[in-house]
């Protein structure tokens, strides 16, 4: 039996267990004076208890078996192979095993297999089928044992509901800790490699160095770049592009939100709001494509016609498109905070004879300002972390410039460039990507925490 069929059989057994547990409970209840009322838990909880006792240990066994099976069988097959094959190095043996497995699973194999290999393959196949049977027997046996115990445990006073609920609660708690585990995982994965990186390049050089040229010679006898890892040009480039993006997104997003929530007719609102939100749903790779193939050449052409030299990978093109991408982000956040400003404030201002725009500019916006700032901070964090637009539309050369017409590179572009393609894991070049990742994570983390705090404070103010 394959693992899947075993699993299906186990599931069937579990449903049986549920039924058996429930029925036994009902039967017991029949003998009681108060019928089911005298039970501590409803019959279905007894059913669940039996089912859980049946499936959980069996599933555990199945898992362990699957994990260990391959290793055990492999070593058994190797032990059964002729001396000549056995004496191979482990890595070669792995290759031979690969061939055997390919032979067994019916894939096209490399060449005509030798008799030894054929024998080993037959052995392997035999062992696997043995193991499959043994596994099915063991798993289903354990399941049946669980079923039996569960069946025995059914009693009117047995607190089946509490038992089941406790189990479910543990599952729920485990699920909610995944968020923490993810954060820990992120921190660990970037931290370890970063520490290794800082073993080779000093943190001071990384943080304050003005030159970024991550290519290092890879052979002892090669004379090439020495590789410098000063991340400042990357910050400058990232901030430049983010700044351009915010220059586009904040006014447009804010004004759209204001217009839509304060002026627009119901019909315009019903059409324009989802349309703007559509911008948020477009994958960033599409924006990247658009930036690289439509906006950048258009900007260059525009520059040419005006006699200004604009790089085809100008920060401007990437920033503009990124700004457009962030518009819905800013506008929906602003919309939220603007709507949270109490109507009484608007009435107060209007009653004094303020025009609508004066009310908005002098009362609504100042009142909503903390919330808007929080939203903008979140948007900046997004701009800094945005990858595909800059990978496709921004440059690779780390230039220290704040001229938006020149090509700059960003932290995310460098991470991608350094890590795309199969990598060796010990050169500072690769490790640098993780140091940049750490930097990016920390920077956005700080921004996010500040922004979320600001927004939360703001919400509390009007709640």
């Amino acid at each position: 039996m394959t693992p899947t069929t075993t699993l299906i059989a186990l599931l069937l057994l579990t449903s049986l267990a549920y039924y058996v547990g429930k029925m036994r409970c009902l039967n017991l209840a029949r003998g009681l004076t108060g019928g089911t009322r005298e039970l501590h838990s409803l019959p279905r909880y007894h059913g669940w208890t039996t089912a859980l006792l049946c499936i959980v240990p069996a599933l555990l066994l199945l898992g362990i078996w699957i994990v260990l099976q391959d290793r055990v069988i492999t070593s058994m097959v190797i032990a059964g192979m002729p001396e000549a094959l056995q004496s191979l190095e482990p890595s070669r043996l792995g290759l031979v095993m690969n061939d055997i497995k390919n032979l067994v699973s019916g894939n096209i194999v490399s060449s005509d297999p030798t008799p030894e290999i054929k024998a080993a393959a037959a052995n392997y196949e035999h062992l696997v089928s043995l193991s499959n049977i043994a596994r099915a027997v063991a798993v289903l046996g354990l399941g049946s044992a669980g079923l039996f115990i569960g069946w025995r445990m059914v009693a009117p006073r047995f607190r089946a509901r509490n038992f089941v609920e406790r189990l479910v609660m543990i599952l729920l708690i485990a699920s909610s800790t995944i968020a923490i585990l993810t954060t820990i995982g992120i921190v660990l994965s970037v931290l370890f490699e970063s520490v290794r990186f800082f073993g080779k390049v000093s943190p001071a050089e990384f943080l304050f160095g003005l030159k970024w040229s991550p290519q290092t010679a890879i052979r002892a006898d090669q004379v090439g770049s020495s590789g410098t890892f000063g991340a400042v040009p990357l910050f400058v480039g990232t901030l430049l592009i983010s700044f351009i993006a915010m220059l586009v997104a904040v006014p447009i997003g804010l004004m759209s939100a204001i217009y839509l929530s304060e002026y627009a007719s119901r019909r315009l609102r019903a059409f324009a709001k989802p349309a703007l939100e559509l911008l948020a749903g477009i994958p960033t790779v599409v924006y990247g494509f658009f930036a690289a193939l439509v906006v950048a050449p258009w900007l260059r052409g525009l520059g040419d016609s005006m006699g200004i030299e604009i790089a085809s990978e100008s920060a401007l093109a990437a920033g503009l498109v990124m700004g457009i991408m962030i518009i819905p982000f800013v506008s929906s956040l602003s919309d939220d905070v603007i709507n949270a400003v109490p109507q009484t404030l608007r009435d107060g201002s209007l009653a004094l004879g303020a025009t609508h725009s004066e009310t908005i500019r002098r009362v609504v916006i100042p009142a909503a300002l903390p919330g808007i700032i929080g939203g903008v901070l979140l948007a900046i964090s997004r701009a800094i972390g945005e990858t595909m637009i800059v990978v496709m539309a921004a440059g690779l050369a780390a230039k220290m410039t704040i001229n938006p017409l020149e090509a700059v590179t960003t932290v995310t572009v460098q991470i991608v460039t350094l890590l795309v393609g199969d990598q060796e894991f010990d050169s500072p070049k690769t490790l640098a990507a993780f140091a940049l990742g750490l930097l990016l994570f920390v920077a956005t983390l700080i921004l996010n925490i500040i922004a979320l705090q600001v927004v939360k404070k703001y919400r509390e103010q009007y709640d």
Partner: protein, 349 residues
């Protein structure tokens, strides 16, 4: 008690379900890494091979010759690549590393030739460079223009300063990083060729080989030479955008993009198919790929893939690789490597 068991159970089952498939599954496709110059040729062969043979199409990642070699030499086993492409010959140091890591028998296959061109946008003038110009423009240290045998940090900012017959545009060359075989070959053929023309440096070759190499092979790092990653397509696209810039890449990319870029003359010879095939063009190099013998016969399809690569319909005079811009080897050389491939002759160094 029960609680702990449930946690354990969920954890183990979760990992089991994810790893079960991976651990019992075996690799039944060829894994190829290496040079981005050979990449377009290898992918075409792989595609044809996949369709014609019924084997799975090999998976190919472009990592640069150096990066590929490093991965290739890490060891023998399913998790390591079977083949690495290289736009230069394997170095002794790399070969030794391979040996040390148990990659004993390596089959070397030369696939053809490729010129390294220095090209710029068609919007700009076609340049006529000499190798000396190239060296002076791109080396980190150059002989003092004031005379003498002193080396100074490269002072040249424009091509005109290098050679009065060249236009007065800023030196801006987009080229491959050190992981790339194109870079190695360019340094050896282009830079060293120019470097040699200074007698005092040439003399150093015998007396102080290390200094000689450092002088001739070190490319300036002050921004005039921009390392543009492994992706040669990207360089081509950037040249289209910036008429002042020059790019260094394989001839196949020039041929593919003849409508937007043109190659500079080097030592008076234009990079053309004929010039490279006949060996007139000074900066041309052979392309290789290397195969682990240990994997042949265990990973399905390697032998057949090699046969496809070494067949006349692929690398012959009229083969489809030639259509892709590769320059074929002379007949006798082709024959030799085809035999090597057929007999799995291992490389000795």
């Amino acid at each position: 008690m029960i609680n702990k068991r449930v946690i354990l159970a969920t954890a183990v089952v979760a990992t089991a379900l994810t790893t079960s498939q991976t651990s019992s599954a075996s690799r039944d496709f060829i894994s190829i890494v290496g040079s981005s110059t050979v990449y377009p040729f290898a992918t075409v062969v792989a595609e044809t091979f996949g369709k014609a043979s019924g084997y799975k199409t090999p998976k190919i990642e472009a990592t640069g010759s150096g990066g590929g070699m490093k991965l290739f030499c890490t060891g023998v086993g399913v998790e390591h690549p079977d083949i690495t492409n290289s736009s230069r010959r394997i170095k002794k140091s790399e070969f030794d590393k391979c040996q040390a890591n148990g990659v004993k028998e390596i089959i070397e296959v030369k696939v053809g030739y490729d010129g390294i061109v220095i090209a710029n946008s068609k919007d700009a003038k076609q340049l006529e460079l000499s190798r000396k110009d190239i060296f002076l423009a791109l080396a980190k240290d150059v002989p003092d223009p004031a005379g003498g045998d002193k080396m100074i940090a490269n002072p040249y900012r424009t091509w005109k300063e290098v050679n009065a017959s060249l236009p007065a545009i800023k030196i801006e060359v987009l080229g491959p990083p050190p992981t790339s075989g194109t870079r190695d070959a360019f340094v050896e053929l282009g830079m060293e060729g120019g470097c040699n023309q200074f007698d005092f440096i040439k003399a150093m070759k015998k007396s102080d080989k290390n200094t000689y190499k450092a002088l001739c092979h070190t490319i300036r790092e002050d921004g005039a030479y921009v390392e543009a990653g492994e992706n040669d397509n990207l360089i081509v696209q950037k040249l289209g955008a910036n008429p002042d810039a020059l790019g260094i890449f394989g001839y196949s990319f020039l041929e593919q993009n003849e409508d937007t870029i043109h190659g500079s003359f080097v030592d008076g010879i234009e990079p053309s198919f004929e010039n490279i095939a006949e060996g007139n063009y000074p900066v041309s190099r052979p392309l290789y790929f290397y195969v682990k013998s240990a994997h042949v016969g265990v990973i399905p399809g390697i032998k057949e893939f090699l046969a496809e690569f070494a067949s006349d319909k692929a690398w012959g005079e009229d083969g489809y690789l030639v259509d892709k811009g590769m320059i074929p080897m002379p007949d006798e050389e082709r024959e030799k490597f085809a035999t090597d491939v057929a007999n799995l002759n291992a490389l000795a160094m």
